[in-house]
């Protein structure tokens, strides 16, 4: 990138090209995300067939199915949040405050559920806890033959969803513990307080805002979860809002869009309430003290081995055992046949990778969708982060906030919004995106921009402002500055964001299950329907392959993250 020719650049109006860039980003965010969400809310507040004011909403509000689904959503999400708080807080305390060995490995295992998508987690747990469990049955711990899998119940949903969102609490509490002022803890220790007392009387009250903020996030994630209540709740006749919306759309098609829009509004209100609660907690609980030096870990002495053993047993049981059961199921010749060395087969992998066209297509479709979503989102995120951070452009700051909306609402809500807007033909073209891969891409672009934006902003904050100003004084236009000066500096952060999007989109189910069509299946949909059709061994094989891809990418991202600023990779210490 030689700048020798830049000096002669004519003095174009810098303001206008910056404004043009802003308009471009604004159009992108509005068309893909905000306009559909706005239309959804208008639609859900309309009169419906009866013409009554707010008829659709009242119609749903009076429906018994909605009441049950709403209560079930609240019940399962609150209980799952409780589970996630217990697991996430205990793990974070043990790994941050004590001198247990192998912290890196334990942290990796604790965060493993973050990398496994919901439908695969649920499938893995079904394999682990069924009557024919490849792991529990040989130990005599599986349910008796003829007994229904105990996970097909509210408790199954609570357990699996709680484990999945425990990672969010873990990350929040770990970050909170890092901000506990060292002086306070040292003072308590010098005063002779027992480590348990220091923890309960000094550290826990200081960490409480982080715990609550993590809990609020776990709650919001749980109410929007589709994969777990779909795989465990549908057989268990336990319907939540996301599965009710799916069943209505599946059963009746786009003619019930108005009704499901009203359901989506209720779901949105729950999510927004959780997010506001979280924002209030974060604001009120903000630490005045500087992060400062990390706390000295408590020495556990002789009980260290016991704590280490307990941690490994608990975390491996939560995160690794189900995946082993999934792997075993993928190697079994048929449903209900216990895995033995002499019967183990790769037939399910052959079926998934070479024989069934729809599964093959799903791999290709998800690869293309994830790649496109990652590349385009990173391309949009860099100029927006630039305008927000370095140019301090007020319009860009607003856009930066608004870009979070399609990610903050549950995926089900966004999918319905996108159907409402993109089902009719696009004006002047006569072409409808409905029934094409395009509509899934639109939803992914809207949803995942936020994932690229955070790393881009974090990266941009490391770029010295005078670098940009120097290039501007030298006469470089905004596009040229972005390309030659800004991009090289933030490229690693942007790439990390793109990788995050790829991993998330590659396994995505909640959005695509409402938008897919024959020929346009995604990998998440393939796993979900293979299981639905009674071919769980093949579903397990597809799941194992997609987890392998995700893990490889996560490791790549972690390796990259060593050279990246804080906050770019969410799970990084």
């Amino acid at each position: 990138m030689s700048g020798s020719s830049a000096i002669a650049v004519p003095a174009r109006s810098l303001f206008s090209s910056e404004a043009a860039l802003l308009v471009l980003v604004a159009v992108y965010i509005i068309v893909l995300g905000l306009w559909p969400l706005g239309r959804l809310f208008v639609e859900s507040l309309s009169g419906g067939a009866s013409g009554e004011v707010l008829g659709l909403l009242f119609g749903q509000w009076r429906s018994a199915a909605m009441h049950r689904a709403l209560l079930n959503t609240l019940e399962s999400s609150l209980l799952a949040t409780l589970v996630s708080v217990v697991i996430g807080t205990a793990t974070a305390l043990a790994l941050t405050l004590t001198d247990v060995r192998g912290k890196a490995a334990l942290t990796f295992v604790a965060l493993l559920p973050l990398l496994v998508p919901s439908q695969i987690t649920a499938l893995a747990w079904i394999e682990l806890t069924g009557a024919g469990s490849p792991i529990l049955a040989p130990l005599g711990l599986a349910p008796a033959p003829g007994a229904t899998n105990p996970l097909y119940s509210v408790w199954g949903i609570v357990l699996v969803m709680g484990i999945e969102s425990s990672t969010l609490v873990f990350l929040a509490v770990r970050a909170g513990l890092r901000n506990v002022p060292r002086d306070l803890v040292e003072a308590a220790r010098l005063g002779g307080a027992h480590p348990l007392r220091v923890t309960s009387a000094v550290i826990m009250p200081l960490a409480m805002p982080s715990i609550l903020a993590g809990a609020a996030l776990a709650f919001v994630t749980s109410i929007g979860n589709f994969g777990i209540p779909a795989m465990l709740g549908i057989p268990g006749r336990y319907t939540v809002l996301t599965t009710l919306i799916y069943q209505r759309l599946q059963g009746f098609g786009p003619r019930v869009l108005g009704e499901v829009a009203a359901l989506a509004l209720i779901l949105t209100v729950l999510a927004v309430a959780g997010l506001i609660l979280r924002a209030l907690i974060v604001r009120r609980g903000g630490f005045a003290a500087e992060p400062g030096a990390p706390l000295d870990p408590f020495r556990l002495g002789r009980s260290r081995v016991v704590v280490e053993l307990l941690l490994w047993i608990a975390l491996a049981g939560i995160a690794i055992l189900p995946l082993l059961a999934l792997l075993a199921s993928s190697l079994a010749p048929a449903l209900g046949v216990p895995l033995r060395i002499d019967t183990a087969t790769l037939a399910n992998y052959r079926f998934a990778l070479f024989e069934q066209e729809s599964t093959l297509r799903a791999f290709a479709n998800s690869f293309v969708l994830a790649l496109a979503a990652a590349a385009v989102s990173a391309t949009i995120a860099v100029p927006l982060a630039y305008l927000t951070v370095l140019r301090k452009n007020p319009g860009a700051r607003v856009l930066d906030l608004l870009a979070d909306a399609p990610y903050a609402v549950p995926g089900t809500v966004l999918a319905i919004a996108v159907i409402i807007v993109f089902l009719p033909p696009i004006p002047f073209t006569g072409v409808s995106l409905y029934g094409t891969l395009g509509i899934i891409l639109v939803a992914y672009l809207a949803r995942f921009l936020a994932l690229a934006l955070r790393p881009a902003v974090a990266g941009m904050e490391q770029v010295p402002k005078n670098l940009d100003e120097a290039a501007q004084v030298a006469g470089a236009g905004v596009i040229r500055r972005l390309r030659a000066v800004i991009l090289p500096a933030v490229a690693p952060s942007a790439a990390a964001g793109a990788l995050l999007i790829f991993m998330t989109a590659f396994n995505e189910l909640t959005v695509s299950v409402l938008l897919w069509s024959t020929g346009h299946e995604t990998l998440g949909v393939a796993v979900f329907f293979l299981h639905y059709e009674g071919n769980s061994p093949a579903a397990a094989a597809v799941a194992v392959i997609s987890i392998a891809v995700t893990l490889a990418l996560a490791i790549l991202t972690s390796l990259m993250a060593r050279n990246l600023p804080q906050g770019v990779v969410p799970w990084r210490a």
Binding site: G251, A334, L335, V337, Y532
Partner: protein, 218 residues
């Protein structure tokens, strides 16, 4: 072609036969039921799972046909429900539950049971002696069809022996007696098909789904 597969006024034609019978888990069941009524015994009903008409077309026909049938009618489903039988969503959930040994008996379309059996799952399929209900994946030409010749050619091909061999390879019953059924299937001519009045089933579709859902949830 069995008469049950042909629309009386020849508006549409069945292209294959998909029948609904009983699948059993061979590890849990030593003496397989032979009659639909065997499932009504409480110790069997409580271990039985069915496909739900809200989610399965074959179940729509199965429930609709039984509801009309003088020997079964709605009391049949009421007894099943009282005995503790449950309705899954689709046929996939039925084979999942029976092959895994979570349920001993399932009411399901035959090829799903046979496919699982061929792969080695501990299941076998029973054609109850009263007969099986059947769907036919019919083909028809729209009055408004723009390319009538191609449509005719397609329908002719669907009803040809060649197409029938293809669907046999996919695990479906053929509609002609001359075409050998998949391995392990009885001859089509030996099948006893419980055929219902389709117009009546169509007219009562919503009512049937509602009654079934009242009994088994939805």
């Amino acid at each position: 072609m069995p008469a049950a597969l042909i629309d009386p006024d020849k508006t549409f034609f069945g292209t294959k036969l998909i029948t609904t019978g009983i699948v059993v888990n061979t590890r849990l069941v030593t003496t397989a039921p032979t009659s639909w009524n065997d499932l009504l015994a409480p110790e069997l009903a409580s271990k039985t799972i069915m496909a739900h008409p809200l989610y399965s077309g074959a179940a729509v026909i199965h429930v609709g046909t039984f509801a009309q049938h003088k020997d079964f009618g709605w009391p049949y489903f009421e007894k099943l429900a009282r005995g503790g039988a449950i309705a899954a969503k689709g046929n996939g959930a039925v084979i999942e539950a029976v092959a895994r040994g979570e349920k001993a008996y399932g009411v399901i379309i035959e090829y799903m049971a046979f496919n699982a059996q061929w792969k080695g799952s501990p299941v076998s399929f029973v054609f109850p002696r009263e007969g099986v209900t059947a769907i036919t994946q019919p083909v028809a030409i729209l009055k408004t069809a723009k390319n009538l010749d191609a449509a005719r050619a397609f329908v002719d091909w669907q009803l040809s022996e060649q197409a029938q061999h293809q669907s046999v390879a996919q695990g479906y019953f053929p509609i002609f007696d001359g075409v050998a059924p998949p391995k392990g299937y009885p001859a089509v001519s030996s099948l006893k098909i419980l055929s219902g009045d389709l117009r009546d089933i169509l007219a009562k579709d919503e009512e049937n789904k509602k009654r079934f859902t009242d009994l088994f949830g939805g």
